[in-house]
């Protein structure tokens, strides 16, 4: 525990270092750093806003000297996994948002080098401003989320560069002791391959600083994807609940052959509906959870399936045609419907939705609304579309400036991983759907084939924190989900702070991680408990 005396002393030193305006230790801001989209009890005594690597180093040295632990937040938008809330009580938060410079950029070699405060929105604007022919990979998270924050958490997006951590290089890291190291080729002075050569020479250290509390990443190069000559999206909807294994087994070979290169995404009906509107209280007779019967009515009226697969197709026109041909062929024997969409088609559809409805009777705007944000993500355009879905169970409309933490939106993400294989994916989805329904939540799940060999499942427990008892029920469901998934061998790809209450059951590896933590952080002052370490 932090002794009040030490904390006071540390605050005085941090203020002297950063200036009083960049050290907050009272008022509403602290409450914001204590608020997530689920129940937490951690208290945050202070928020520090360093403006440079040197200030981070000094903040850490002070923290060591006075034994006050620090927690790191870059964008602070880790919704569903804990927002800005530290794993343990009593940690001051080091908010890296001020360090938001884009340090280097190469159109030719297709990379950008950023500080931790650089957001998706900022990089997207930067590329536009430079008339760049490069695309970033955007995650479905807020446009204001940090690129480095998402990457060190091994978050993912929807283009061929979706596995963010695999496209990062040349980290600068401040160790908890205040020392600085660099990784890969960047560790050598004036090395010309620093931003492009992940491995460098000697041991590769990048992995140590992802999903850990071994250091503060203060710089990273991110590889970007060249804009393809042609881009189309495919959408495949299928009404048959039992078609999932066949869909996965049809898509995997295309991804393995790199005929389809994007991260392919399969959402169930609940997930789609949650992205389109708030809870249909009227149709559901005021009751929760939404029954499969009511759900099926929405599927019909809003033209989506029980399973909804999508992905981007990138290349020259000939390559895109060929990929479409193969996709048609692979999916031909399945009962669903396959559609292809281009950004241009969407623009036209929006423009002519009125006349089109008059003629055909089909309200195409609904479809556009459904697919547009997905298509945007496939071409690296950040969207705040997902934000709205946090308000699913709220009885008030989505505000103009949504803030799920502030507005009592309940969101807990549990994210187990399956092999990209039909039977196993089906088994995992069954566990997730059954568990969520059992606890009275809509079983919103998405399955992303991020590599040809694995599927990241994201289960979204979405509820209203203002309804009494829901916080507890959601956490109970979350823990039960974790228990059932790991018991069946489906370990998560990422953890929220609600899963960080103790070491992971990883035997010798865990012991080794504990010793690494003691080496990097002898006083245990950096994000104690993160990923169950320290």
């Amino acid at each position: 525990m932090v002794v009040a005396e030490q904390l006071r002393e540390a605050l005085a030193e941090w203020q002297a270092l950063l200036g009083p305006g960049h050290v907050v230790y009272e008022g509403d801001l602290l409450r914001e750093f204590e608020t997530a989209t689920f129940s937490t009890s951690q208290s945050v005594p202070a928020v520090l806003r360093p403006g440079s690597r040197e200030e981070i180093q000094e903040c850490l040295r002070i923290a060591n000297r006075l034994a006050v632990p620090l927690y790191i937040v870059s964008g602070g938008k880790n919704w569903g996994y804990g927002s800005r809330v530290p794993v343990r009580s009593g940690c001051a938060v080091l908010d890296l948002g001020r360090m938001n410079r884009i340090l280097d950029f190469s159109e030719e070699l297709a990379y950008v080098t950023v500080e931790p405060g650089v957001t998706q929105r900022q990089l997207y604007a930067f590329l536009k401003q430079h008339n760049s022919k490069l695309w970033m990979d955007a995650s479905g998270a807020s446009p204001d989320s940090s690129l480095i924050g998402n990457t060190v958490e091994r978050g993912f997006g929807h283009t061929p560069y979706g596995d963010h951590f695999a496209y990062a290089a040349g980290l600068e890291v401040v160790l908890p002791t205040g020392e600085v190291i660099e990784t890969g080729a960047a560790q050598f002075a004036d090395c010309v391959t620093a931003p492009v050569n992940r491995w460098g020479v000697g041991p590769s250290l990048d992995g140590l600083f992802s999903q850990s509390n071994f250091g503060v990443v203060t710089r990273m190069s991110i590889h970007l994807m060249p804009e393809p000559e042609r881009f189309e999206a495919f959408f495949y909807t299928c009404e048959a609940p039992n078609a999932l294994p066949a869909i996965v087994d049809a898509l995997r070979p295309l991804k393995l052959q790199e005929l389809l290169r994007s991260a392919m995404h399969i959402a169930n009906d609940y997930k789609v509906l949650g992205g389109l509107r708030q809870y249909p209280w009227e149709e559901a007779g005021g009751k929760t959870p939404l029954t499969p019967e009511v759900m099926s009515l929405f599927r019909r009226s809003m033209s989506f399936g029980y399973w909804n697969a999508s992905g981007g197709i990138y290349g020259t026109p000939a390559q895109v045609s060929e990929a479409k041909r193969l996709l048609r062929k692979r999916l031909a024997h399945l009962p669903g419907k396959l559609h292809f969409v281009t950004p241009r088609l969407l623009r036209t559809a929006k423009r002519f939705a009125g006349p089109f409805k008059l003629v055909s009777g089909w309200d195409i705007r609904r479809t556009v609304e459904l697919v547009e944000p997905v298509v945007d993500l496939m071409r690296g355009i950040p969207t705040d579309h997902a934000l709205g879905s946090c308000y699913w169970r709220k009885r008030t409309p989505i505000p103009a400036r949504p803030d799920p933490d502030r507005d009592g939106c309940g969101l807990l993400w549990y994210s187990p991983t399956a092999p990209a294989e039909g039977e196993k994916t089906e088994q995992l989805s069954r566990i997730a759907i059954e568990t969520m329904l059992e606890y009275g939540f809509e079983p919103m799940i998405s399955l992303t084939m991020l590599t040809p060999r694995i599927i990241q499942c994201v289960t979204s427990l979405t509820y209203d924190r203002d309804v009494s008892g829901e916080d507890e029920r959601a956490l109970d469901c979350y823990h039960e989900l974790g228990h059932r998934c790991t018991a069946a061998g489906f370990w998560p790809y990422r953890l929220g702070i609600a899963s960080m209450d103790g070491p992971l059951p990883n035997g010798g590896t865990g012991d080794f991680l504990g010793r690494l933590k003691a080496l990097a952080d002898p006083n245990g002052i950096l994000a104690p408990g993160r990923y169950g370490i320290g």
Copy 2:
């Protein structure tokens, strides 16, 4: 230094553990482990051959107790980088060749799980035997080289899976203390994604065990590539010495767009000639090095260029056609010649070489000889073709069973990395060519665009160890190459033992690596000095 008394005691314990047949401490075999393809002075007191992970653990415990350092060799074919010779004198060698089981295999998810003794040849035979539609990525090294050995050294091959370390997952590692850890998803008992999910959850540790001496990798899953519907190879030869920047800048966008997915390879004329025949003593008037004038005669008579680029094209027939069209288009403004080759064409050419020569006067067998091993590598077929090139300067013919260590073949590889960009690649190739010529060696270099952003240059100092003074001159040249390349910012991708005489100049990162070593290996008994660590 190892005290003789301790060594004797350790030998007795190792013999009791492994059986006397698996502990060798006298005779010719030790000399073999003291012999590389360049001058070394390290002595090897013993070779141990454990048959299981448990035996490795116990060998390490004994080594710790008696302070006898151990060096690790898997296939022992690290030619050009040090063969089987330890970095420091006095290390007993732990030879893992007996552990050669293929532990797991999935055609569907496209991976194989192997022990360190499994060779390229063995995996290739295994896939054939199982009628697998999967291709391995083969490195140009010996078919008898270890898959794990090459991968932990971050070696590379020639298919889209060329960056071996990026296609590995689920390591089992024995730490120098004898403890066992597992990495990625494999660290969790019964995790169903162990062989396919590189990252797992929590910090990723794989990188620590590549190019290091932090542990002994005893198991690894290797991801395999599905056989494409169609495969062709392209060969581009260009007579203009100054065309390199244009070639690199023409190919990079194709690789960036993933229109060409293979690791693209550019060899200079000396490198090609060295792959085709031994030194032309007669034509060179008995003198070395081979002058550019004589070299140009061979280019003409044997139909290759000053620069010779090649790569594989994989996909459906339509995709292959499209890639060929784009390649033609990109290279159209350059002065060279572009050819496409299929395995079938090669078979036909060999069959009809005689009549063809009668009709056309062109001896097509030469061309087949030149391209066949390259085409094999592009489709994952290991070849011992490169072995012959070690005999370049020998005056005796290549023996039926070549062994470069035994036969006094001189080979030193220095492997700097450039960004995949014309000007920088040109700068690096100039440094390499000039330095090698200056020291009297043929400047054999290859440049491999392994990712869209980096080029791995391999410079091959090939000489005859039996010629007095050559060993010294080669090492002088090697060190000068290293000095000039790193001074210009071109750091190597990999080191030979001749570059491991001290810590790398990597500042804070080096300090951290030193502390990691002390943590993993408190008694410093595992491969001391490897990559300048410990």
